[in-house]
């Protein structure tokens, strides 16, 4: 515990202002309770601080402050307007346009949407499955059959073999061959 008078007197200003840590404050207070010389010194210091604090400041009138403000206003009107440094102005613009930070994400979203729409429009239709050989045959046969006179003479069934080979007769949509043919 530090209790020498010269060390205690170093602490008296802090003690008078309540600036000491609590433990130290108690130590100083305890010493002042035992040491009359240090107690007198503490009292004088407190008085000096109190008288300094109590030194009055002038209370100025409303007219004074009105004139004060008007003078300042007049003087600064002759000054160039203050501006933030360039790097701060750039930063301020960046902050004001903070929504631009979303642009990459927005752009990506828009681009994706465009591509999607474009892609959907351009997606080729699923090509129809190639016609079966049978269908082709039926088609071809139908075309030919339209011109075959034999169809007009179906009554003449002497040429059954020929008839059997007419795939048009075997196409489901045209009906089955009669039984026994």
């Amino acid at each position: 515990m530090i209790d020498r008078c010269d060390e205690i007197r170093e602490e008296l200003i802090g003690y008078a202002e309540g600036d000491l840590a609590p433990a130290r404050h108690h130590q100083v207070a305890a010493h002042l309770g035992r040491c009359a010389a240090c107690a007198r010194e503490a009292e004088r210091l407190a008085e000096v601080l109190e008288r300094t604090r109590a030194l009055p400041a002038p209370e100025m009138t409303e007219a004074f402050w009105a004139d004060f403000g008007a003078t300042v206003r007049q003087r600064i009107s002759r000054e160039a307007p203050p501006r933030a440094p360039v790097f701060q102005r750039v930063g301020a613009w960046r902050d004001r346009l903070a929504w631009l930070r979303l642009m990459p994400a927005l752009g990506a979203a828009v681009a994706a949407g465009v591509l999607l729409a474009f892609g959907v429009a351009r997606i080729p239709r699923v090509p129809p499955s190639p016609p079966s050989a049978e269908s082709v045959a039926v088609g071809e046969s139908l075309a030919i059959a339209q011109h075959l006179d034999i169809l007009e003479h179906l009554d003449e069934l002497e040429y059954l073999d020929l008839l059997e080979h007419l795939t048009v007769l075997r196409a489901p949509e045209l009906g089955r061959l009669p039984a026994g043919s």
Binding site: L45, V48, L55, M60, R75, P82
Partner: protein, 184 residues
């Protein structure tokens, strides 16, 4: 809700120069009291306080916002005051304005109060400028040692040491004053 200092500053820097009046009205009294306590002269105090605001306006673009605006403004006001003391050769004022507190019916007490106030004012004015500045900022404006260091542009330890030296010097001077008057 009142705008913060930083909000007003942003407004001024954005081009609304009239917004600076908000800061003037907000700080004119403490800044004037500061320059008054440093010079003990009403006219000088007014001129220096106005100069502090003009310099603050001029340099507003350089305000870094690392410290509070008030600390920054105190620094400007203290610099103009110390420069004035330096230019005046730091002579003790011949006539120290000591305002008489209102409401004291006892004329003798008023005279004594005047005399004591004058003694304190002269003792403060007689201190070296840095000690005077430290004392004023601590006792009359309630700044911490750290804030005083920011205002004066020195280390916190230096600000603290200056303050302790100022108080001890004041104690010595006022003790001498008390002794010549036969004690209180």
């Amino acid at each position: 809700m009142a705008q913060t200092d930083f909000e007003v500053i942003r407004q001024v820097l954005a081009g609304d120069t009239e917004a600076f009046e908000t800061l003037v009205r907000r700080y004119q009294q403490p800044i004037f009291r500061l320059t008054y306590r440093m010079t003990r002269n009403l006219e000088d105090a007014r001129d220096l306080a106005q100069e502090a605001f003009v310099q603050a306006y001029r340099s507003l673009g350089n305000f870094q916002q690392r410290a509070s605006f008030s600390t920054w403004l105190y620094r400007i006001a203290m610099n103009v005051s110390l420069n004035r003391l330096k230019a005046a050769g730091h002579e003790s004022p011949e006539e120290v304005d000591a305002q008489v507190p209102d409401g004291q019916a006892d004329a003798l007490a008023r005279v004594l109060q005047d005399e004591r106030d004058r003694a304190v004012a002269v003792a403060i004015a007689d201190l070296p400028p840095q000690q005077q500045a430290t004392l004023t900022l601590r006792v009359h404006h309630g700044l911490s040692h750290r804030e005083i260091a920011e205002v004066l542009g020195c280390a916190e330890g230096t600000a603290k040491a200056n303050y302790f030296h100022a108080v001890r010097a004041l104690q010595h001077k006022l003790g001498a004053f008390r002794d010549t008057r036969g004690g209180d």
